[in-house]
């Protein structure tokens, strides 16, 4: 979807912000650019919507050199979310979200409908929030509006520059979780910039680690944890890789789609209930998208060996503690 072909960006003061970048963001993935501050990740992102122009090399958007596209046209096709949010304080929440549809000349009915749909998606009931002003909202709510505004015209690509960076840890966690769900729904290609490796591991299908304007490693989160290619990546990823692996591992990757006899009672007991009481406590089922860490901790809390995996109120399989532990030790 987005391809960097030997891209360089030098500034007039001599800084070499991007130094020979070659990689491709695949369609439908969330690709995270991560690295220490000053590594060129934000510059790289801004090369896509032409807020920066490369001094050398080419950036391709859907096969076309971005330089050949009209900058404002290109930007209206790409969603853009920044750390400082940048809401227009003189406009209402609804008007903020309607910005790009209006720039594109949508008719009022279509725009209104879209605004309501997005506010609903972001957990801001339109009846309550559409006419309010950004200054009345909390930081988390403001960034929800920021994301809704970026999604308004149904962009093929979203650029997100430290979108949750200015939020308190609890709100950040909440928004990350919600955004993962939203992303499944909207199915857009996302390029996400952060300096936080944990956020990268959590949000990304692919992670591009950058240092001094160069790409150091480009891999899936699991591969990154299993095989850091350089000392720098190993240090950047951190010492607690076993634990992190549990966080990036999804239940769907370790679950068994059939229900073996030995666990039939757990599953049967569950059918139709949200939770059942076992020896140690309550059995709370997991979803396929939950992390293995969540599944493991629920197993331990309830004192059981396996948990039912539930999707849309039906049991789709089981996940066992031993399967998780086996996968965890494989990479280490």
């Amino acid at each position: 979807m987005i391809r960097f072909d030997n891209v360089h960006k030098r500034y007039s003061d001599g800084t070499h912000a991007v130094d020979g970048l070659d990689f491709e963001v695949e369609e439908g993935t969330t690709t995270v650019l991560v690295g220490p501050s000053g590594c060129g990740k934000t510059t790289t992102m801004k090369l896509v919507n032409r807020l920066e122009e490369p001094t050398d090399g080419t950036v391709y958007y859907d096969g076309t050199d971005v330089e050949a596209l009209e900058a404002t046209e290109l930007r209206r096709r790409i969603g853009y979310v920044i750390q400082d949010i940048g809401l227009f304080d003189h406009m209402t929440v609804g008007e903020n979200v309607a910005t790009v549809p209006e720039l594109k000349g949508w008719d009022a009915d279509r725009t209104d409908e879209r605004v309501d749909e997005l506010l609903d998606l972001m957990g801001l009931p339109p009846g309550e929030y559409r006419e309010r002003h950004p200054s009345d909202l909390s930081g988390g709510q403001r960034q929800r509006v920021g994301v809704a505004r970026a999604l308004a015209a149904g962009p093929d690509v979203m650029l997100m520059d430290e979108p949750f960076g200015a939020l308190d840890p609890i709100t950040r966690e909440e928004l990350q979780d919600e955004f993962i769900d939203i992303q499944r729904e909207i199915d857009t290609t996302i390029l996400f910039v952060t300096h936080d490796i944990n956020e990268a591991l959590k949000m990304g299908d692919r992670i591009a680690i950058m240092r001094d304007g160069k790409l150091v490693q480009y891999d899936t989160p699991t591969a990154l944890l299993d095989e850091p290619k350089t000392k720098f990546v190993e240090e950047f990823v951190g010492p607690d890789r076993t634990l992190k692996r549990l966080r990036v591992l999804r239940v769907e990757e370790v679950m068994r789609p059939e229900v073996p006899d030995e666990y039939a009672d757990i599953v049967d007991a569950f059918q139709g209930n949200d939770a059942v009481v076992a020896d140690g406590g309550e059995i709370v089922p997991v979803a396929p998208t939950d992390s293995a860490q969540v599944a493991l901790s629920r197993c331990i809390q309830a004192g059981v060996e396996a948990l039912p995996v539930v999707e849309d109120s039906t049991v789709v399989g089981v996940v066992t503690e031993s399967a998780i532990r086996n996968r965890q030790s494989e990479g280490a």
């Binding site: 930007r75 920044i82 940048g86 809401l87 304080d89 910005t99």
Partner: protein, 237 residues
């Protein structure tokens, strides 16, 4: 006490006897002020917009407008008389110059104070420079620009009175007659009229400001008149 009451009576009877002439002079005064604004505001606001993009030009333009402002009004009027003759042209020309600094300065300050993040977001979402100006920067700057305009209007109403000396008419005529005829009531009543005129202009521009901000979708404390206007507007549309 008695003297004060009789003086007040004198003022009232003067105002009553000269209501027609006062109205005509007020009308002239308003006309001069409105003509000045019609020329000065587009120029000053455009200059403010242009210099908000070029910092170097900003220093120069603001300096020149500042120097213009230090030139004594009667001297300015006087210097223009040999060039433009007497009457409205030299008066309006000088007043246009005096209106520049408050309006240019406030437009510039208002435009450059818009939140950087909002401008970056606007750019990133695909707004052209003109769209950013119209949708983001100008609405944010509006209250500051309007404060500059209101400041300018009050100054203009006062300075226009001096224009009477070079034949521009307006309420200044009565001040000068009052001095030469030694007519205290005339001077006092005209002074009150001038002050009221300045306040009325200030109020009118306050209403315009609220009106524009409401149209931008902002919430403002509505003055009574704005409420009335909004109601009338709602009934018409």
């Amino acid at each position: 006490m008695l003297a004060a009451v009789s003086f007040l009576g004198e003022l009232l009877s003067f105002a009553a006897e000269n209501a027609g002439r006062l109205a005509r002079l007020s009308y002239e005064h308003v006309a001069i002020t409105l003509w000045t604004l019609a020329i000065a505001l587009p120029v000053a606001v455009s200059l403010g917009v242009v210099i908000s993009y070029y910092e170097r030009a900003a220093t120069v333009v603001l300096w020149v407008a500042g120097v213009l402002m230090t030139i004594p009004a009667i001297a300015f009027f006087g210097v223009l008389v040999p060039v433009l003759g007497i009457g409205n042209p030299p008066t309006i020309a000088a007043l246009v110059a005096y209106a520049q600094l408050p309006v240019i300065r406030n437009t510039y300050i208002g435009l450059t104070q818009a939140d950087d993040a909002a401008i970056e977001a606007g750019t990133g979402l695909g707004m052209t420079r003109l769209e950013r100006l119209r949708r983001v920067r100008l609405p944010v700057a509006l209250p500051v620009v309007m404060a500059g305009i209101r400041n300018a209007v009050v100054i203009l109403v006062g300075l226009a009175a001096i224009g009477a000396f070079i034949g521009a008419g307006g309420l200044g005529d009565f001040i000068f007659y009052g001095i030469s005829a030694g007519d205290t009531a005339m001077i006092v009543v005209t002074t009150v009229a001038l002050s009221a005129l300045a306040l009325a202009f200030d109020y009118a521009f306050g209403v315009i400001e609220q009106w524009l901000r409401l149209r931008n979708g902002e919430e403002v404390d509505r003055a009574v008149l704005t409420r009335t206007l909004a109601a009338v507007h709602a009934r018409l549309s």
